[in-house]
Amino acid sequence: MELLEPTREAFRLLFTGDAGLWRIIMTSLVCSVTALVLIAPPAVALGFLITKVVFPGRRALVVLVQALLSFPTVVIGLVIYMLLSRQGPLGFLKLLFTPEAIIVGYMVIAFPVLVVFTLSAVQGADPRVYETARSLGANRWRAALTTLFEVRFGVMAAVFNGFGRVVSEVGCAIMVGGNIEGLTRNIPTAIALETSKGEFAQGIALGFVLIVLALGVNIALSVLQGEGGMK
């Protein structure tokens, strides 16, 4: 397979600001970031509550959330498809094959990643953090925020991992987004489509963007952590 020419073409597309290519990139970014902004607060809160509050079924909930981590995204896509399809219980929302449907899918996919990483971060927090906050008069809400601030690098890792998981996801996005050009086509679905058509240039360009994004979030996490992330 000739790789050099498609790669050269890929970089030409990227750096000449090819509108179609950049629309695909923006769709990916907007869907991923919106999903994370919407799902991170409840997921982080649940991760915290599971660690700090004793309630019946807590262990079962942890097992369930951990199991969700390994759920195939295409199955998540299938369930959301059935819910959003015209005959489905949420069909009246008319969300199927829209960016909003992809956002819903991404929220479901990112949710267990955020919960499990937060849970792990809060479990690793010094137990004196919460107690100190409480004994200085902080209410539960403020003490919880203080604890999350103290383990902020773990929480950031949760968000960045959630981003990494959704931005490269293909199965769910194709099922509920439909891979519609100019509307729901994003980086991974476009790579899958272009490669199946034998159009490698755009696939390589988008693959390059994905790799840059993956590296970028990891570098950003590392910079934000600075020395603080090191024990």
Partner: protein
């Protein structure tokens, strides 16, 4: 007759079938200084934590200024008044002055008042030269002084100190002892779990002995 700052009546606490506290009876006078002594593992820390609302007892009653306190649903308002300082205090990953201001912010004190109080507390604890140092870079003794300032700034009704001089080198211990002496002289009601002879022998310090789950007269 003046009301006691704090009264404990029949406080009990079990740990895995073991009766750690077996009916604690205690009355602390307002402005009094008390050294709670006893063997390791006798329940001193647990008793302090119960008073601070960090864990509930299995039974008994607590009164603050004569009013009965619900120890299972510990009143939030009391958390601003009964302040517990860990043996190894935890300082938040922020500046020293923000650490000292933490309780004042939690109490919603106005920013202007906060600044004055924090500056006073920094001066009181003699930690002005540490203000630009990250809390995690402080020694154990320095952390203890910041933690005492952070508690003192709240003007607590009762200050609960858990082994404040344990594991400190001689200089750090001396500084901590000076602050504890100042607290007592300032009329802050303090209950200190300790083994330190110098704390027990401080002027005006009343010794309490926790033995076999009860406070015994000394």
């Amino acid at each position: 007759m003046s009301t006691a700052a704090l009264e404990l009546i029949g406080i009990t606490k079990n740990f895995s079938q073991r009766e750690l506290l077996r009916g604690i009876e205690l009355s602390l006078a307002t402005g009094g200084s008390y050294a709670l002594t006893g063997d390791n593992g006798c329940g001193k820390t647990t008793l302090l934590r119960i008073i601070a609302g960090l864990e509930p007892p299995d039974g008994g009653e607590m009164r603050v200024d004569g009013s009965v306190v619900n120890l299972v649903r510990y009143p939030e308002a009391l958390r601003h008044k009964l302040i517990y300082v860990h043996q190894h205090p935890y300082l938040f990953h922020t500046s020293i002055d923000h650490n000292i201001a933490y309780g004042l912010k939690a109490r919603n004190d106005p920013a202007k008042d906060r600044q004055v109080l924090v500056e006073d507390a920094i001066q009181w604890a003699g930690v002005g030269h540490l203000i630009d140092v990250l809390p995690q870079k402080l020694s154990g003794g320095e952390k203890q002084r910041v933690a005492l300032a952070r508690a003192k700034v709240l003007n607590p009704h009762l200050l609960l100190l858990d082994e404040p001089t344990a594991n400190l080198d001689s200089d750090a211990r001396r500084h901590a002892l000076e602050l504890i002496e100042k607290l007592c002289a300032d009329g802050v009601t303090v209950l200190i779990a300790c083994h330190d002879r110098e704390i027990i022998d401080m002027p005006g310090m009343k010794r309490l002995l926790l033995e076999s789950g009860r406070i015994a007269p000394v």
